[in-house]
Symmetry: C3
Subunit: 117 residues, 3 copies
């Protein structure tokens, strides 16, 4: 089976498709870095929508998500955006932990694994 | 291939099955939160047993595990429980790191990916 | 489908193969622990090469990588080694976060999921 990559560069690819599985890079906010957790989460989920669409999937086919927050006290702020985005009862497995990210302007990072439609 | 979910809610599902693969949500102790790492780990591994059974698998079919500890100095305490639970030589790939979790009463979280039997 | 494990012990296996997928344990430096991030990353990537070869794959078939650094300020130092190792445009999805690791002499840990060739 061939591996198909999207937005590949010298460091990583933003999406990697193998068979029926899709692996996305950890997404951080592109234009809303340094803004609120609400704004960053909103942008990140839009980036995930766009990458999944290019890879032949959508948010209802996410299998697993790992969410990193630089400050776990923003857990509920992130969840408000998350819960308005996912389709109830079509939700993925998920883990959320606190971790510092690659640069201080990023306070949310979300990595997902999905199935193709 | 259809996605089959278990214990699905508005935020996440506790288990997601796709083809021969099973993705569990990060498990934290349900009744032993705030208790020792030994007690939390014991309860978490029991929760994993139960979820895997419902999804058509068991602990000998875990492919990969990520373990988060809020205090990495509890690494050996967690490992004692872990090693008494896994079947020697049928052990998964594993990574363990320190991270704060969603609420302070949780000091252990374990996320696993498994194969169906 | 059978699960095939490599370097299995009472705690974990260093590689687990299921169908076309390969799951490696989080790799930390074996002989370069306590040395620089450059030296640890170099050794880790060599360990990943060796494990993937035994499991029937190579670095160009890595689907996803999670990199843990105990000090995120070493992000670019790690990336210099990473980028000289991966094949440009055959790069995996990736996430990098800061986390303390199992022992203080480890300052880099890398966990990868790969496809068989």
């Amino acid at each position: 089976m061939a591996i198909v990559r999207f937005d590949s560069g010298p460091r990583m690819s933003q999406a990697v498709v193998f068979g029926q599985m899709i692996f996305l890079a950890g997404q951080v906010a592109e234009t809303k870095a340094g803004h609120s957790v609400t704004e960053q989460t909103t942008e990140i989920l839009g980036q995930i929508d766009a990458l999944l669409a290019r890879a032949g999937s959508d948010k209802d086919h996410i299998l697993s998500a790992t969410i990193y927050l630089t400050d776990i006290s923003t857990f509920e702020e992130m969840n408000l955006v998350w819960e308005s985005w996912v389709t109830p009862d079509l939700t993925p497995a998920r883990a959320t932990v606190e971790a510092k990210l690659a640069a201080p302007q990023y306070t949310v990072e979300i990595q997902v694994t999905a199935a193709r439609k």
